[in-house]
């Protein structure tokens, strides 16, 4: 978390003594991979977070209770802990047709989200769905899905993107809020700087191969066997902000690049639309034109060349005709025709 060692006692104390923060954890359009990631956190262990640090009062997927009973609890927390509870949102809300494409307990998720955010102390957007829209907001986005920050524009939202986010990043954000009672420092896109401050590429262990110019060019070539850089295979590490190359996944076992696959940039805005994943240049530049920047550029270059050639060609033809028309060919100086002076 980039904290000084002297602050460790403060974290221990906070985890021991601070009152548990009430948390309402909503699920909208999503796949629950964020929850799946969360429950695998090892520093701190997820059950510690759920049982000792926070009071997870409402969570569609983890709660034991069901039905009217839990909706009742949500309403009660919102009233009794107004301004104190934390709202964690997994997934986002479809906005088309009044938000009918995602309903929970008879109400649209859109309404529930806006209503629950109203009196929350802070709003945490878990994962790329909540932070950037992710797959359901990818083109053509049939349900008009929008990330949380666009649905409650007047509230500051902590974005914790990733598909899913790293478990320790999720629990780390909660630990920070519990310990210091404030939100962590955020970057321009509302992401905690301590986890999203640098690109995968900047901490990647394959980076020496990048700088050397040694690249994998096919999945089964010599470079792939030697663990060279995956840049030419479309690795999105150079434009992806996340902690995968530092923390790794599953208690530090590995991460995509460590397993020989390029980064797909899952924590970045629009990452689905930035495909195909396995090529360096994608088709995204101009909306409506399904071509890579190279195809567009080559076309324009050829057009410019053709235009120039056509102009020069017709000029020469015209000169030939003019010369033939005259009985005596004109001397080298071209005639001056600009009659509109």
């Amino acid at each position: 978390m980039g904290l000084e060692a002297t602050l460790v006692p403060r974290i221990v104390e906070a985890m021991d003594k601070k009152p548990r923060i009430p948390v309402i954890w909503l699920h909208g359009l999503e796949c629950t991979c964020c929850s799946e990631s969360f429950i695998r956190s090892s520093h701190p262990v997820a059950q510690d977070v759920v049982l000792n640090m926070i009071s997870l009062d409402y969570d569609d997927t983890l709660q034991a209770a069901a039905g009217f009973q839990v909706e009742e609890i949500r309403k009660r927390i919102m009233k009794e802990y107004a301004g104190e509870y934390l709202l964690a949102v997994e997934g986002n809300a479809p906005t088309r047709d009044g938000g009918v494409y995602c309903t929970v307990g008879g109400d649209t998720f859109l309404n529930i989200l806006v209503e629950t955010a109203e009196k929350a102390k802070a709003v945490v957007a878990w994962g790329s769905c909540a932070s950037n829209g992710c797959v359901q907001a990818a083109r053509p986005n049939p349900t008009g899905a929008k990330p949380v920050k666009d649905l409650i524009p007047h509230r500051a939202v902590i974005n914790v993107p990733g598909c899913p986010p790293i478990a320790e990043v999720m629990t780390g954000v909660l630990t920070y809020i519990l310990t210091f009672g404030t939100l962590p420092e955020l970057d321009r896109q509302g992401r905690p700087k301590m986890f999203y401050g640098q690109r995968i590429h900047d901490k990647c262990y394959r980076r020496p191969f990048f700088d050397a110019g040694q690249f994998v060019e096919a999945w089964d070539d010599e470079g792939a066997r030697k663990g060279w850089c995956l840049y030419k295979m479309g690795c999105r590490g150079p434009s992806t902000y996340n902690s995968c190359s530092t923390f790794k996944w599953n208690n530090g076992v590995s991460f995509p690049i460590g397993s020989g696959h390029g980064c797909i940039g899952c924590s970045e805005e629009n990452f689905w639309d930035n495909g195909p994943f396995y090529q360096r240049l994608s088709n995204v530049v101009v909306p409506g034109i399904e071509s890579t920047p190279d195809q567009i550029g080559k076309t324009l270059t050829v057009l410019a060349g053709a235009g120039v050639a056509a102009h020069f060609g017709s000029y020469m033809v015209r000169r030939g005709i003019n010369a033939a028309k005259k009985e005596k060919p004109v001397p080298s100086a071209p005639e001056k025709e600009g009659g509109d002076q």
Binding site: A212, Y241, F271, D294, I296, G305, Y315, R318, Q341
Partner: protein
């Protein structure tokens, strides 16, 4: 009052004159731009399509690293030359401003149409001291427009290697504006092609014009002088 035709006021039999049009800063900036853009284009191509894959330990090579180094150095040089030219737009003679699209002036539009028609009809057109309106428009789009586009996207990409640093503060906002770092790469890449398109058009038009006008157009970007004849168009009075 817009374009003024030239009257040579020396000896009655003297129909030709010579004028200092491109001042030294303009010429310098032109050639520095040329060299740095060439380096940027070539190293940029390598950055997108790194072809070399030398075998051996990575510690023995620094090909991509070197290309990026040259690219960034050339980028900074281009930036300085570009900003210098922007400064000279204000400080230089009136020819330094003659490429500006004076869209609110009828004379500019007249010159634009006249010049475009001259090219389409393969006519000689008018010799201009300074830029003609069509040429000026081209430089505005391809040099000023693309130049700023390339500088901002390039510096935003550059800022990524030092989060919270100087360039991040100055140009980091470009990244969310384009919808993420990856898209900034794509636009930066597309803009690079624009410079190639510009090079084709620019070189052709300059060769064509200098062949038509025979007024020292080509050598003027080295010497600064253009020749003119009575009746040629002078843009000295466009901005004053």
């Amino acid at each position: 009052m817009g374009t003024r035709t030239l009257h040579v006021e020396h000896l009655p039999e003297q129909r030709y004159g010579r004028r200092y049009v491109w001042q030294l800063p303009v010429r310098l900036s032109h050639w520095i731009n040329f060299l740095s853009l060439l380096a940027l284009f070539l190293t940029g191509l390598y950055i997108t399509f790194p072809q070399l894959a030398p075998a051996g330990e990575p510690s023995q090579h620094f090909v991509m690293g070197r290309m990026r180094q040259i690219h960034f150095a050339a980028g900074q040089i281009f930036l300085v030359s570009f900003l210098w030219r922007v400064y000279w737009f204000w400080m230089g003679n009136n020819y330094a401003r003659s490429g500006f699209p004076f869209v609110w002036r009828a004379a500019w539009w007249r010159d634009l149409v006249r010049q475009a028609m001259a090219y389409l009809h393969l006519r000689r057109g008018n010799v201009h001291l300074g830029h003609n309106a069509l040429g000026g428009l081209m430089y505005t789009v391809f040099v000023i427009g693309l130049g700023w586009g390339q500088i901002f996207t390039g510096l935003a990409l550059y800022s990524e290697s030092n989060p919270g640093g100087f360039w991040d503060h100055l140009t980091g906002w470009v990244i969310p504006l384009f919808g993420g770092s990856f898209r900034v790469h794509m636009w930066h890449h597309l803009f690079a092609w624009g410079f190639l398109v510009f090079a084709i058009l620019h070189i052709y038009v300059v060769l064509f014009d200098s062949h038509q006008y025979r007024n020292g157009l080509l050598s003027s970007i080295v010497s600064g002088f253009k020749f003119y004849e009575e009746g040629d168009l002078d843009h000295d009075s466009w901005v004053s």
